[in-house]
């Protein structure tokens, strides 16, 4: 349809510089530049290194996205940008870039929530999202469970991690096992050859006494420590570490908690759709377990392809397109980068566009 909004999306909240182009629910381009290799020796993302990389990457990444989509800036209806949450300095590069393009090309700019964008990206794969839906968003920076009543105007946070993000736990356990950063894909690969039932690692916040206050919250810090203890005990005893079994058992514990709580949220809210997003959603065990367990309750699981699960510009464009179609007002030019943007804010709307 020619009257569907053509929207550019810019993402710079962490270590990926992403520019995506979307028309309606159709993905036209998804250009990405990553600084992940520059962070590897630090064992985690260094904010200043990420910010510097965004400044270098933004113009060429935009160039690639426009070329790939076969459009010009003059053609687009709006420019969407992640304005939070994320690393403050990194967000600021993307927000300033979006405004530069918006001023130069005389386009409206939408400052959008990174987490809502992780939900919206699934519409590029599976079409409009039935509302309400439950969203499970898991990455190195966030682990949240949301009730998506209205993706254009507001979502309701149900729970979140009270310590480490799920992806962070993957990174830390990978390091413990001598696997590279970021740990997710390496744990996943090792786990394929391991026994998920080999070691009974703890499932955080699933005991009856924890459920009262933290029914939809997560905790991965205790799990991480339990894995470290188990590995150290073997090392001190001079025994070899069964890396595949540790990886599989750890991964099983994480997925068990995530899927268990997500499905509980679906059932108690009478919701038939579960969307999973964020980098950890690329984990093969998480995807398989979600499908398997949801089938029992007739719940439909929607998980975008792995390249759309990790941070990218397409997800921001997808949310922008949804906002334009819903008639939501754009942001003003004084839009700030908000590293602690609340989940209830899907986009920052200004009264008027000047």
């Amino acid at each position: 349809m020619a009257d569907e909004p053509l929207v550019l999306g810019i993402e710079t909240s962490c270590d990926e510089t992403g520019v995506g182009v979307v028309r309606g629910h159709t993905l036209l381009a998804d250009a990405l530049a990553s600084s992940v290799e520059q962070h590897a020796r630090f064992g985690g993302v260094v904010p200043e290194v990420a910010s510097r990389a965004h400044l270098e990457a933004i113009v060429p990444t935009m160039e690639r996205a426009l070329t790939e989509a076969g459009v010009t800036l003059a053609d687009v209806d709006a420019i969407a940008v992640t304005s939070g949450p994320g690393l403050a300095g990194a967000l600021l590069v993307g927000v300033a870039a979006a405004k530069g393009y918006a001023v130069a090309a005389d386009k409206p700019v939408y400052g959008v929530n990174h987490l809502a964008a992780h939900v919206a990206v699934d519409t590029l794969e599976h079409g409009p999202l039935p509302e309400p839906a439950i969203a499970l968003l898991v990455s190195g920076g966030h682990s949240s469970l949301l009730l998506v009543d209205d993706l254009a105007h507001g979502v309701t946070p149900l729970g979140a991690t009270i310590d480490d993000a799920a992806g962070e736990a993957f990174d830390k356990v990978a390091r413990l096992l001598g696997l590279p950063f970021p740990g997710g894909p390496y744990i996943d690969r090792e786990a394929c050859a391991g026994d998920p039932a080999a070691i009974a690692f703890p499932r955080g916040l699933t005991a009856a006494k924890d459920l009262a206050a933290h029914r939809y919250d997560f905790s991965f810090s205790g799990l991480k420590t339990a894995v470290a203890r188990w590995v150290e005990r073997r090392q001190r005893a001079g025994e070899p570490i069964p890396v595949a079994d540790v990886a599989a058992s750890f991964q099983e514990a994480v997925c068990d908690v995530l899927i268990g709580k997500a499905l509980d949220a679906c059932r108690s809210n009478g919701v038939q759709t579960l969307v999973i997003g964020g980098g950890v959603a690329a984990n093969s065990r998480l995807r398989a377990m979600a499908e398997q367990r949801a089938a029992k309750y007739d719940i439909r699981v929607r998980t975008p392809r792995p390249t759309l699960c990790t941070d990218n510009g397409a997800m921001v464009a997808a949310l922008g397109s949804h906002l334009v179609a819903a008639g939501v007002a754009p942001s003003r030019l004084d839009l700030p980068a908000d590293s602690a943007m609340p989940l209830t804010t899907v986009s920052v709307t200004g009264e008027e566009w000047t």
């Binding site: 530069g100 150290e232 030019l333």
Partner: protein
């Protein structure tokens, strides 16, 4: 030719429109707001405002000049990414100028001066200019004492800029009142030759002068007692 000038290397967030002709550089509109914590919020509205002052469309711009710093990283990047993205969108060249030159060059009055801006952490970004406004040392980042010693060696007669005022006592030289921040007219003058010649635009590479604070991952602490 109508040229946009931006600088966000100091607490002053600066946007200006200048006319560059064979006769020289004339400022047509400018905005300067001093707020070290709001570069990201302020700059784009200011660019919009100077365009509105002249009733000019962005497509009327023929080039963009940006102060490359040195300056505190987060704020500095706002000006550079704004200039780079606008240059890309409009298909016009971008030119970089050392931001300290926007202070030291217009201060030229026959004798050497030291221009300094605040680098936080009890340090300054600084450079020394000869009597004609040419930069002869710098840009550097260091404690004010280090800059003061170099200034004495070079027979500097006055210090200038926001950072010089802040550390006037340490620098032990008379501080000139103006300019405190980079002057857009000076930044444009320093790029005028390139603009007039239609020189190819340059990537706007920031003058960070410091490495990112980061330490390589250390060995893991055991969890067992």
């Amino acid at each position: 030719m109508l040229v946009l000038v931006v600088d966000s290397s100091t607490p002053a967030v600066i946007a200006a429109l200048v006319e560059v002709t064979a006769a020289g550089v004339e400022v047509r509109a400018q905005r300067c707001a001093v707020d070290a914590r709001a570069h990201g919020e302020l700059l784009a509205p200011q660019v919009d405002a100077v365009l509105a002052d002249l009733g000019a469309r962005p497509s009327a711009l023929g080039a963009i000049v940006a102060g490359l710093g040195p300056g505190p990283f987060t704020g500095l990047r706002v000006g550079l990414v704004t200039a780079a993205t606008m240059g890309q969108a409009l298909g016009v060249p971008t030119y970089g100028v050392c931001s300290l030159d926007g202070i030291g060059f217009p201060a030229a009055a026959g004798e050497p001066v030291l221009a300094a801006t605040d680098a936080r952490r009890r340090e300054i970004y600084w450079a020394v200019y000869d009597g004609a406004g040419q930069r002869i040392v710098g840009p550097e980042v260091s404690a004010p004492e280090v800059a003061a010693a170099r200034a004495r060696d070079l027979a500097v007669v006055a210090v200038i800029g926001d950072g010089a005022h802040r550390y006037a006592a340490t620098l032990e030289l008379p501080a000139a009142d103006e300019p405190r921040y980079p002057m857009p007219v000076a930044l444009a003058q320093l790029a005028a030759e390139r603009i007039a010649a239609g020189a190819p635009g340059e990537p706007l590479t920031p003058l960070y002068l410091r490495r990112p604070d980061a330490v390589a991952a250390a060995g893991r602490k055991p969890v067992l007692p």
